[in-house]
Symmetry: C2
Subunit: 426 residues, 2 copies
C-alpha cells in the first residue's frame, strides 16, 4: 500500500475552474503538495494513465444507517411509508445496528468515490463516528432532534457528541446540531437547540422545505413559511446546511442568500418520494452554495453520488427547459467543492496545491468512456460509480484497484445482514 507520500503520474484531472488538465499530482502527508508537468522519477508512483482524477465526492445529506432499510419499502405514499414501514423498524434499532448500518454505508460510499458525508441520525451517533474513524472517510455528524421523541435527551446527546467528537480523527470528524425539521421541532425547541449550539460554536444541519405538505402545515401552525419561522429562532446565525429546499418563496430565497445558507439538493430522493424539484439552477445563479446529497438509502435507494450529479444535471435542464443548465463541470463542482463548503470544510473539494488530498481516480477504460473527447461529460453523463478505482482521503488510500484498504467488507456484510434480518423479522 502506497501511503501519504506518492505521486499520481501524468493524470487527467478536474480543475476547480471546470477545465481539465494533465499533470502529476504529488501527495505528501494529508495534502496535495504540488502539481507539475513533465517526467517524474524516483517516487512512489500511481500510474495516472486511463484515469481521471476528481476531488472526492461529498454526500451533503444522508442517514447512513438507513442502509438497513434499503428496498424494505418502496413505491408508497410518504406517510404510509414512514408510519407503517420505516418508523416501526427504526424504533427497534440498537447501537449495533447503527454501527453496522453505517459501516455498510461507508463501504458503499468509498466504492462509489465518496470521501465525505453529512449524516443526521441517531441515537448512538458515536457509532457512526467510530465508522468514520475506522474507514478513513470524513464525516459531519449530527444527532437527529425531534422535540416529541426524547427531545431533551437527544439534545443532550448532540452536545455530548460535539464535545467528544468535533475535530476528532485528525479533524476528519466534525459535529453539527441536527434539528430534524419544522414539523418535528416547534420554534421553542429550535431556540433551545440554537442556544446549546451557540455555546459550543456548532453549526446546524436541518431538513427544510422538502414537501408542499410541510409548507402548508407550517403556514397553518405559525402563519409563516418554514424559513421565516426558523429565521426567528437564531439557528441561521450559526451557519446552516439546509437539506432539500424544494418549495421556496421569493422571501425564502432572500433569507437563504442573506444568511449564507448552504443547500443540500437531493434530486434522487426528491424524485423517488415525489417531493418536487429543488430550484437548483436559480439558487446557483444567485450565488448560493448548492451541494448534493443522496438522502437515506431507503428513499433513493443507494448512496451513489455520481448518480446524484447526473440527476442534478439532467433534472435542471428539463426543469428549466434549458439544455445549458448545470453543465457537466458544474455538476462535478456541486458534488465536490460545493459539498465541502456545505459541510464547512476548508481547503477540501479542489485539486490544488495546499489542499487536502481527497482524491478519486476514475478508471476510463470501459466502453462507456469511448471515445474520450471530454472526461467531465463522460463522468457525469455516461459512466457509473463502478468506475471509481482509487479513493484517497487525507493522503491515505482507502481503496485501490477497487480493493478496500481500511474496511473488512466481508465481515461488515455478514454483520449487517444479521442486523437487517433481526430488525425486519416479525
Amino acid at each position: 500500500m502506497i501511503e501519504n507520500n506518492f505521486v499520481i503520474r501524468d493524470v487527467k484531472f478536474f480543475k476547480s475552474t471546470g477545465e481539465i488538465e494533465t499533470a502529476n499530482i504529488f501527495v505528501s502527508g494529508d495534502k496535495i503538495s504540488k502539481i507539475t508537468k513533465g517526467a517524474v522519477d524516483g517516487e512512489k508512483i500511481i500510474d495516472g494513465k486511463n484515469k481521471f482524477a476528481t476531488p472526492g465526492l461529498v454526500n451533503a445529506h444522508t442517514h447512513a444507517s438507513m442502509t438497513l432499510l434499503r428496498s424494505y419499502s418502496d413505491d408508497k405514499a410518504l406517510m404510509d411509508w414512514l408510519q407503517k414501514d420505516i418508523w416501526p423498524v427504526e424504533d427497534k434499532m440498537t447501537r449495533k445496528d447503527i454501527y453496522w448500518g453505517a459501516a455498510l454505508a461507508a463501504v458503499e460510499m468509498i466504492r462509489g468515490g465518496t470521501t465525505a458525508f453529512a449524516d443526521m441520525y441517531g441515537p448512538c451517533m458515536e457509532e457512526v463516528a467510530k465508522v468514520v474513524e475506522e474507514s478513513g472517510m470524513r464525516g459531519s455528524l449530527c444527532q437527529g432532534l425531534i422535540s416529541f421523541a426524547d427531545g431533551e435527551k437527544k439534545l443532550a446527546a448532540n452536545v455530548e457528541l460535539y464535545k467528544n467528537f468535533h475535530g476528532a480523527a485528525d479533524g476528519r470528524i466534525t459535529v453539527m446540531f441536527g434539528p430534524h425539521a419544522i414539523y418535528t421541532c416547534p420554534p421553542d425547541y429550535l431556540k433551545k437547540v440554537a442556544a446549546e449550539a451557540q455555546k459550543l460554536g456548532a453549526q446546524i444541519h436541518m431538513h427544510m422545505n422538502e414537501t408542499q405538505t410541510e409548507i402548508d402545515d407550517c403556514l397553518k401552525a405559525y402563519g409563516k413559511r418554514p424559513f421565516e419561522v426558523v429565521n426567528e429562532t437564531g439557528l441561521f446565525e450559526l451557519g446552516m446546511l439546509a437539506a432539500h429546499c424544494v418549495w421556496l418563496s421569493d422571501e425564502e430565497f432572500e433569507i437563504i442568500k442573506r444568511k449564507k445558507i448552504r443547500v443540500a439538493h437531493n434530486p434522487g430522493s426528491n424524485m423517488k418520494l415525489a417531493s418536487g424539484i429543488c430550484p437548483a439552477t436559480k439558487l446557483l445563479a444567485q450565488g448560493v452554495t448548492v451541494a448534493l446529497g443522496t438522502d437515506g438509502a431507503s428513499s433513493n435507494n443507494n448512496l451513489d453520488m455520481l448518480e446524484e450529479a447526473r440527476l442534478a444535471a439532467l433534472l435542471a435542464k428539463v426543469d428549466t427547459l434549458n439544455p445549458l443548465a448545470v453543465p457537466a463541470p458544474q455538476a462535478i463542482q456541486m458534488a465536490t467543492e460545493n459539498g465541502a463548503a456545505a459541510l464547512g470544510l476548508k481547503n477540501i473539494g479542489r485539486l490544488e496545491e495546499g489542499c487536502k488530498a481527497d482524491i478519486v481516480l476514475w478508471d476510463m477504460r470501459g466502453v462507456e468512456w469511448q471515445p474520450n473527447y471530454n472526461p467531465a461529460s463522460l463522468l457525469v453523463y455516461s459512466a457509473n460509480s463502478s468506475a471509481a478505482d482509487t479513493v484517497i482521503v487525507d493522503g491515505k488510500i482507502l481503496m485501490e484497484g477497487r480493493e478496500l484498504k481500511t474496511l473488512d467488507e466481508e465481515k461488515i456484510l455478514a454483520e449487517f445482514t444479521a442486523c437487517a434480518e433481526r430488525l425486519t423479522k416479525n
Copy 2:
C-alpha cells in the same frame, strides 16, 4: 461455453405479473422450455444463487453508431449542437464508421443487459445488420429517411434493407421504415414512404413530438399538429413505433390509442436536451404500450437501459407528484415486455415457458443490493448496469461472468477509436 441446452438453477426471477419467484429456468434451443421448482440434476447448470433473472432489456430507440460522437459535444443548445457539431461529423461517416460505431454499441448494450434494440440511422444500415448477426443480439433496423438529403435514394436503401435483412439471422433481425420526423419529411414524402412500406408489409419507426419547436413549426407549416399530419399519410395504418412523444394534445392522445401506436420514451435524452417530459404515466394508464429507449450516445451519453428504467420511474413520480407512479416492477416491464411489443417481437420480453430465451442474470452480491428485501426495487433504484453478469439471447450465451462470448471487445475498441479520431480531426 454452456449453450442452448441448460438450466439456470434456483434463481430469483421477475415474472410478467411483476412478482418475483424462485425456480429453475430450463433453456432448450432458442426457448425457455420449462420453469420448475425443486432439485435439478444431470444438466448443464448455471448456478442462480445470488442472481436475479429478468427478461433481456430492449432499447426501443437508438442510433447505435452515434457512439462515435459520445462526449464530442454536450451542454449546448439543440440547434448549435446539431448544426455546428453533430451533422458535420456525420457527413464524413463511411461504411466502416457505421460498422465499428455499431459494434462498440453492441459491446456496451450487452455489457448493460440489453438484448434487443431498435436502430434508426444510415447510410449503410447493412453494416448494423452485420453487427446484429455477429453479436447474437436482436435488432429492429431502419434507414433514417430525410426528404431533402437524398430522400429517394435513402427510401430505396430502406427497401433494399427490408428485402435483404427482414427476418435474417434466425429472425433476430427485423426491418422497419424510418421516416426521420415531421420537420425533415413533408407529407408528400411520408406518403411515398407509406406506399413502399405497405408493399412490403413493413412497420414504421419515427421521431414524433420531441420538442415544442417541432410542434410550433408543424402548426405553422400545416396548421395541424404532427400526429394529425402524419395521420393523413397512411403511416399509422402500418404499425408505428413513435420515439419521444413529449408534447401531446388530447387529440394526439386519441390518435395514439386508436392507431395502437407504441411509444418509445427516452427520459435520459429528453432531460439532457431539455426537450420536456413524456407523459408516460398518463399514456400507460390509458393502455398505451410505453417502452424505453436511450436515444443516441451523443445525447444521453450512454446506451444504459437500466439507467433509463430508473429515470422513467423517478421522472414519472416527480412529474405527477405521485410517489406511486411507475413503481419498480412497471419500470422493468417498460424496459422488457413493452420494449419487445414496441419492436413488434412476439413471445419475447417475458420469462415464461414457450417464450424465447432472452434472459439477463444480474449479480446481486454488491453492497448496493443489501439487504435484499426486493430485487425489483434494488435493480431499478439501487444497482447499476455493471451488475449484468450473464446475457442470453435466443438461448445463446452472449456474456457470462461479464466475459463477452461473441464479440472481440479489444479489436472493436481499437478500430472504433481509430474511426473516432479520423472523424473528428480537423
